[in-house]
């Protein structure tokens, strides 16, 4: 069978299309998701296919949008809630972290909240400080939530299928700069399991753990470094909550050096958590402290001249790998 390619965003649309076809309980709610098909074109064609009953345009009311999802999910539906930019979580976080995430536990276990919250995350489009953030660290620190960060079209579809079928609230972080990136995507419905990292490239000198779009950069850096004789293993956790520490630690025990990369600012980012867990699990195998590559401690700047320097990229990742392999 010829491999079919889809863009990252179309893989999302296809997953949803098929999931809605398979299960009447799945519906989509958010601003401009129906009539317009989503500002990132994520929902193109779904209104035509499924109608206004299942594709719901809303007022600009993120708290009510997420709350609608929570209430509908608690009643057994499977809402896919879209709040556009991840930064907008700040206006509706309560419904996600104090309601959806805690409900099952607080209620004593009876309720389920099978809601998917889709956000467009990440920088690189000169969208400025309030439209570019990667806030996975807030969410992964919140018991009750799951957080997926697909790095390829293939994983977008597979993780979305898993997310919609999951009985817990899941945040799907789509990376804005990857929306047009193409990749092979099977036509049928398939799941990419949560909490299972993918080893995208095997290597022996250093393990690079990368989140979201940084996986693409890490893979590119690995190519460059191979030519220099540095063998890089690239690990993509795919979900950060749950986090597959076992695979990362296993890799670390072989390579003895770990670099963690994400778009979010380094301080307090998940790089710290991964570093702490890996160090704990593989302390005696590490030749150097885990090296974190993230954004500097500043809001995301607008000007491309600044934003390019702000974001980690293949160059900085390669530099980190050279540095850590030099150390020992």
């Amino acid at each position: 069978m010829a491999v079919r390619e889809l863009t990252y965003v179309k893989a999302y649309t296809e997953a949803l299309h098929q999931l809605m076809g398979a299960d009447d309980d799945v519906f989509v709610v958010g601003e401009d998701v129906a009539g317009y098909g989503g500002v990132f074109h994520m929902y193109d064609g779904l209104l035509a296919a499924y109608g206004e009953r299942r594709m719901i345009d809303t007022p600009i009311s993120e708290t009510a949008i997420v709350g609608l999802g929570v209430g509908a999910a608690a009643r057994g539906l499977r809402p896919v809630v879209d709040i556009m930019f991840m930064d907008f979580l700040a206006v509706c976080l309560d419904q996600l972290v104090n309601q959806a995430a805690k409900m099952k536990f607080m209620f004593g276990g009876e309720v389920r909240v099978p809601m998917v919250l889709t956000v467009a995350a990440g920088a690189g489009l000169s969208a400025g400080a309030q439209h570019s953030q990667s806030l996975e660290a807030w969410l992964a620190h919140t018991p009750g939530l799951k957080v997926a960060m697909p790095s390829s079209a293939h994983d977008v579809k597979g993780l979305m299928v898993t997310a919609v079928r999951d009985d817990n609230p899941v945040v799907m972080m789509l990376n804005k700069k990857l929306l047009g990136a193409k990749g092979a995507v099977p036509e049928e419905l398939y799941e990419v399991p949560f909490g299972q990292a993918a080893v995208l490239r095997e290597g022996t000198d250093v393990t690079v753990v990368a989140l979201g779009r940084m996986v693409v950069e890490a893979t590119a850096a690995a190519g460059t470094l191979a030519a220099e004789g540095i063998s890089v293993e690239v690990v993509d956790p795919r979900t950060v909550q749950p986090l597959d520490t076992a695979t990362i630690a296993e890799s670390a025990r072989r390579t003895h050096r770990v670099v963690v990369v994400h778009e979010a600012v380094t301080f307090g980012g998940l790089g710290a958590e991964i570093a702490a867990q890996v160090t704990d699990a593989a302390f005696d195998h590490l030749d150097a402290p885990v090296l974190r590559v993230g954004a500097p401690f500043a809001p995301v700047p607008f000007s491309p001249a600044l934003e390019n320097a702000y974001l980690p990229d293949r160059t900085r990742i390669a530099e980190a790998c050279r540095q850590i392999t030099k150390r020992s």
Binding site: G71, Q95, F107, R112
Partner: protein, 339 residues
Amino acid sequence: MEPVGAVATRTDRAPSVEGLDAASLLDLHRRMVRIRVFETEAGRLMESGDLPGFLHLYVGQEAVAAGALATLTDADQITSTHRGHGHAVAKGAGFRKMFAELFGRVDGYCHGRGGSMHINDLSIGMLGANGIVGAGLPIAVGAAFAARYRGDGSIAMTFFGDGASNIGAFHEAANMAAVLQLPVVFVCENNGYAEFTAQARHMRLDDVADRAAAYGMPSEVCDGMDAVAVRQACRRAVDRARAGEGPSLVEAKTYRYYDHQGVKGLRKPYRTQEEIDAWKARDAIELLEARAAADGVVDAAEFARVWEETRADAVDAIAFARASPLPDPATLTRDVYTD
């Protein structure tokens, strides 16, 4: 807002008991008495140091929960507030599991994980109290959405205070429900205060109900000390919802007898004794009993039996709760996720 004057006005509007039969009146009465007894006992237990955590008692407001919830079935969903015991009891929650939860025991509604502010009972459509002011409103809108999506004929109802009507979640939920024309009833329990702040200092309207116009939503004000009046107003709103005519807002003017939290005023008086006395003079339970007796619809002995049964129920439930084991710390991380 001048509460005492307001009471006088509302007395004029108060409907008589006529039109309701003995069964309906006893139903309202029983719901109110169950709340009163539960809350009085809970307050006592808190005063004696038996209960951990916060306790926002519902005493004084019984007519609202009773009147409103007499219009729903178990299939209908409600969301509630920090002051949620009354809604749970009136929706049909059992004393045993409720007391056990307040004691933090394993047989409680939340198995000791939630406490007073998270009591819920999915089997009777009680989608939970809530510790975050206003947070229950959008969730009820979601439940109403699900009801319409499934076309199962059920509706949702959500309770909130005068103070809660100032938070963004109220505004967004009301507008969302109106735009989507969802089957949900917004019941504002206006007890005149947000914690220790009088209504006149937190909004510039006398009636929260007037805010419904901002969403193109019908509303009405009723006497929250008169369970019959609340029942009638909510019935109209519930009928609209069931008929597919969208959401409504019902405001019930009421009063809490105890402090915002706990039983006694903590330190600072923020209400006058005259005001408290004026409201207590129109106590919802006494009012119903007196009217029913005057109209000759219900025999006083029947009311007495309700009190008796309910008190016995509380005694049993408290004993049950005290005997219930503490939750096992080994279960701490259970039920964070479904799998």
